[in-house]
């Protein structure tokens, strides 16, 4: 899940490929997928590694341009996200209700040296993601695969018995328990092929063996990565990547403000560039006021959930938590997040764009600035008319101004909030390690790593996710909710699991372990010759795989 949100977006280099799905519905982009040209992607990140084991990148961003996986995402404007076959012929078959999953590779897939891509390469790729030396990537599969806890990667000579490759085309995964969203799991970077003979663990990320339409041809640490066409990739085997540009240059370590200013100016090479980071509020306001620039802002629909975490171990009275929900000034929070383009007020845990979401609001207020009278009433009922609470937040980005927006809102209801800021890393350890339970409130945002309600609920509210690196920051533990999560996780039928997740969503918010604040919207800027640059309903990041240049 995208816990890091604002930071992660800046820090994670996101990439994608273009495919042959030749029927785009990108608004106001009538020219189709033109081939040729050099696309520049401006990123504030100084790191660029496409090692599939270490990557947290979304399927449709940077790593997707170079690495194909068993499945991938079809992201189109105005359509819900879909999981589609990538290297595999379908999105997985299960005969035992979701405990074992089998995939078959397409014909004609090769590496650049002409050797065929086999399931053994996939198995090896997954195995190496277990090595502690290659940590840091998306690791949902590590706890799901049978025997995954004890496995430490292939470098000690061991292999993982729960992945079986009866022949070069077939691969079967055995899970500990049934898991209905497995087809989404195999769209993650670790499920891309790594030929064992080419594995150089320490440096693989700088020069991975490509399976997608591009390969890295040059890399200058912290400054630039150049991607050029991979001749072995065949358009007819790929339904999502369109591979428009001949060349893609990642310009790294770009100050987000400066990058936005360059894109606003739109001169020279910058015409064929887009920014990988959110446009800062000042440049966003500036761009909006200029009609010729306004067209080049691409804003996502509301996506990630920004929410106020209430530590249920310290704020034990549910009426106080309800009072916090009513007293939250979502209007000020929204302005601190960039105004209308920053998001829209939130009321549910499952985010818009996720299949199965049911909209509801348990704590409705007529004004997004909150219902102070109602909050005071609840506080009086709870016998705590002037609670003093500590809000722990991060010092980077807009977090501290967002915290201040809430602080002044709570003050209206007589709730005194003391803000404590910490650097991102300290904050992260503070709230996830579970060792220091000394905060009442904290702020964060969350977007699932794959578009399933599972990703909205389980990591944040299952009692197993308290401490030890888990993201249940509210320390929320309710047996009834744990049972709902277990049942929904095992359900293979999307309609039935969707209903269970929606039920869990509402049940959790009755206890108010968190206050949903806004569904954030992200804005990006593109140069005037970039086409097919859009954001789907999920995720709130642009699809790199289909971007092309006007020819």
């Amino acid at each position: 899940m995208r816990a890091r949100h604002a930071v992660a977006a800046a820090a994670t280099v996101i990439l994608g490929l273009t495919g042959c799905n030749a029927n785009p519905t990108a608004p106001a982009e009538p020219s189709g997928f033109a081939k040729g040209g050099t696309l520049r992607i401006l990123s504030s990140s100084t790191e660029f590694s496409l090692d599939p084991a270490k990557s947290q990148s979304l399927a449709i961003t940077s790593s997707g341009l170079v690495l194909r996986r068993l499945t991938t995402w079809d992201i189109s404007p105005g359509k819900p996200p879909a999981v589609v076959p990538d290297l595999a012929t379908d999105t997985g078959r299960t005969t035992d209700g979701g405990k074992t999953w089998t995939f078959t590779l397409k014909d004609g897939l090769t590496f650049p040296d002409g050797s065929p891509i086999t399931t053994r390469d996939i198995k090896y790729g997954v195995e190496r993601s277990f090595a502690p030396e290659l940590g840091g990537g998306l690791g949902y599969h590590k706890t799901l695969l049978d025997g995954g806890e004890a496995y430490k990667g292939p470098y000690t000579g061991a292999s993982l018995a729960s992945i079986v490759t009866p022949d070069d085309k077939t691969i079967t995964f055995t899970l500990k328990t049934a898991y209905g969203d497995w087809p989404w799991i195999v769209s993650m970077p670790a499920f891309s092929p790594v030929p064992k003979a080419s594995d150089d663990p320490a440096n693989y990320g700088k020069n991975p063996v490509p399976s997608g339409p591009y390969r890295i041809t040059s890399y200058t640490a912290g400054a630039e990565a150049v991607l050029e066409r991979n001749p072995a990739w065949k358009q007819e085997t790929d339904q999502v990547r369109t591979a428009g540009p001949d060349k893609i240059i990642f310009q790294l370590g770009q100050d987000t403000t400066v990058a936005a200013q360059r894109l606003v100016a739109d001169s020279g090479d910058d015409k064929g560039a887009f920014g990988a980071n959110f446009v800062p509020p000042a440049q966003l306001a500036q761009a909006q006021s200029n009609p010729s620039v306004k067209d080049r802002i691409v804003t996502s629909s509301p996506g990630a959930l920004a929410y106020l975490v209430i530590n249920t171990r310290r704020v034990t009275d549910v009426r106080v938590r309800q009072a916090l929900a009513y007293a939250s000034d979502k209007r000020a929070y929204l302005v601190a997040s960039g105004g209308e383009l920053g998001g829209s007020p939130a009321s549910t845990l499952i985010t818009p764009g996720i299949p199965g979401r049911v909209a509801y609001d348990l704590y409705p207020t007529t004004d997004p600035a909150g219902d102070v009278a109602k909050a005071k009433e609840l506080l009086t009922a709870a016998g705590q008319t002037a609670p003093k609470l500590t809000l722990l937040t991060r010092s980077d980005g807009q977090w501290s101004s967002q915290a201040q927006a809430l602080q002044q809102g709570f003050a209206r209801a007589g709730i005194t909030v003391e803000i404590r800021t910490e650097e991102y890393e300290s904050w992260f350890e503070h709230v996830t390690s579970g060792e220091r339970d000394d905060y009442d409130l904290t702020l964060t945002s969350w977007q699932p790593d794959f578009p399933s309600a599972n990703g909205n609920i389980a990591p944040l509210f299952a009692s197993t996710e308290i401490g030890g690196g888990g993201f249940n920051l509210s320390r929320y533990s309710a047996p009834e909710v744990d049972q709902l999560i277990a049942a929904a996780t095992a359900e293979v039928d999307p309609a039935r699991s969707g209903a269970l997740w929606a039920q869990a969503d509402k049940r959790i918010l009755q206890d108010v372990p968190v206050v949903p604040l806004i569904y954030t919207r992200n804005s990006f800027l593109r140069g005037s010759s970039v086409e097919n640059f859009y954001i789907g309903e999920y995720p709130t990041y642009p699809n790199y795989l289909k971007a092309s240049l006007k020819q």
């Binding site: 820090a11 590694s49 840091g136 990537g137 590590k142 663990p201 912290g222 980077d396 030890g468 993201f471």
Partner: protein, 334 residues
């Protein structure tokens, strides 16, 4: 020779103390770099594995010893085929950036060095010239104007001047580039063009300090008996100035210059931030925001080494280092 070896011994001792303090203080930091290498979702077992691989499971002293020996012998993290090599001189390994810290510093140093050396030359020339003119024309309107300007200049924070400079010359007049760095090897003209505003900003403020220093020193020296004697002997003012004045003024100026340049070479944090230049200072700030402890330790040590080396060089030049306290706001905050 013994003097030189004594100085070298002193330098190494200082570096040892500083490295130990930095190491102890930073490793005790609340942030846990292993959490970042744990991946998502993270489990306690995987966290422990990551910690062990990065060497954070050892006792503190053992970690420090590994760090020190690593400088001379290099280090290896992990024991399997996937182990990470960090060749000597290894100042640690940034797992976040996937590179040895030594390599990162080597990549960024040219930017900081270009900035620092160019600015230093400018401020030395400007400052000494202005100070000399002021001293010679002491009491005149020119002198007063120069000295008043110099108080104003030392009072202005470099980053503020930089920002206002950017606003005027970059955004409004569009005369100079607003950010970035072009390597000298790629295009000397673009290199200088991108650096001109940062140079001027840094130089303007330090030049004020040097002008004041030069003037005070020069007037001090010109008041000495031997200079009066020289004048009495009928030497012309210009000759007196050259032969006695400037030469005696040189000692404290060189001293300051060495220290200022030394501290700037370790990273011009503020100027790099204002002009978005990818130097050592930016690397440090970036590392700070990501709790990249090896990088923070490495840069701190590197900049200390620069200072200590500058100190030693100055010391060797003059024997005793005893600059007068002149004005306090020196080039440290640039």
């Amino acid at each position: 020779m013994t003097r030189v070896s004594k100085r070298l011994g002193g330098m190494i001792l200082v570096l040892l103390i500083v490295s130990f303090l930095t190491y102890v203080v930073l490793i005790a930091a609340p942030a846990d770099p292993a959490l970042m290498s744990c991946g998502r979702p993270c489990t306690p077992d995987r966290l422990a594995d990551a910690r062990a691989f990065m060497g954070y499971d050892e006792p503190l002293i053992a970690q420090y010893v590994s760090f020190l020996t690593g400088i001379f012998t290099g280090r290896t993290f992990g024991s399997t085929a996937a182990a990470v090599e960090c060749a000597a001189p290894c100042l640690g390994y940034s797992f976040r950036l996937g590179a040895p810290v030594t390599e990162l510093i080597a990549d960024r140093a040219p930017v900081t060095f270009s900035l620092a050396i160019g600015a230093a030359v400018l401020w030395l020339v400007l400052g000494v010239a202005a100070g000399t003119i002021s001293a010679v024309k002491r009491g005149t309107l020119l002198d007063r104007a120069a000295m008043t300007l110099s108080v104003a200049a030392v009072s202005a924070p470099a980053y503020l001047v930089g920002l206002i400079g950017l606003l005027i010359f970059g955004f409004t007049l569009d005369m100079v580039p607003v950010s970035g760095y072009v390597p000298l090897t790629e295009s000397p003209i673009d290199w200088a063009w991108h650096l001109i505003l940062p140079w001027l900003v840094l130089a303007l403020i330090s030049a004020a300090v040097y002008a004041r220093l030069t003037r005070t020193q020069l007037l001090d020296v010109l008041g000495e008996d031997f200079v009066r004697t020289a004048r009495a002997k009928g030497l012309r003012e210009g000759v007196v100035l050259r032969r006695h004045g400037l030469r005696n003024t040189l000692v404290p100026i060189v001293t300051y210059f060495g220290l200022d340049l030394g501290s700037l070479l370790g990273g011009a944090v503020l100027t790099e931030r204002v002009f978005s230049m990818p130097g050592l200072g930016s690397l440090l700030i970036d590392a700070f925001g990501n709790a990249d402890l090896p990088v923070i330790i490495g840069i701190t040590l590197f900049s200390t080494a620069m200072i200590v080396a500058a100190n030693a060089a100055v010391d060797l030049l003059h024997g005793v280092l005893d600059p007068r306290v002149t004005h306090v706001q020196k080039g440290i905050f640039s």
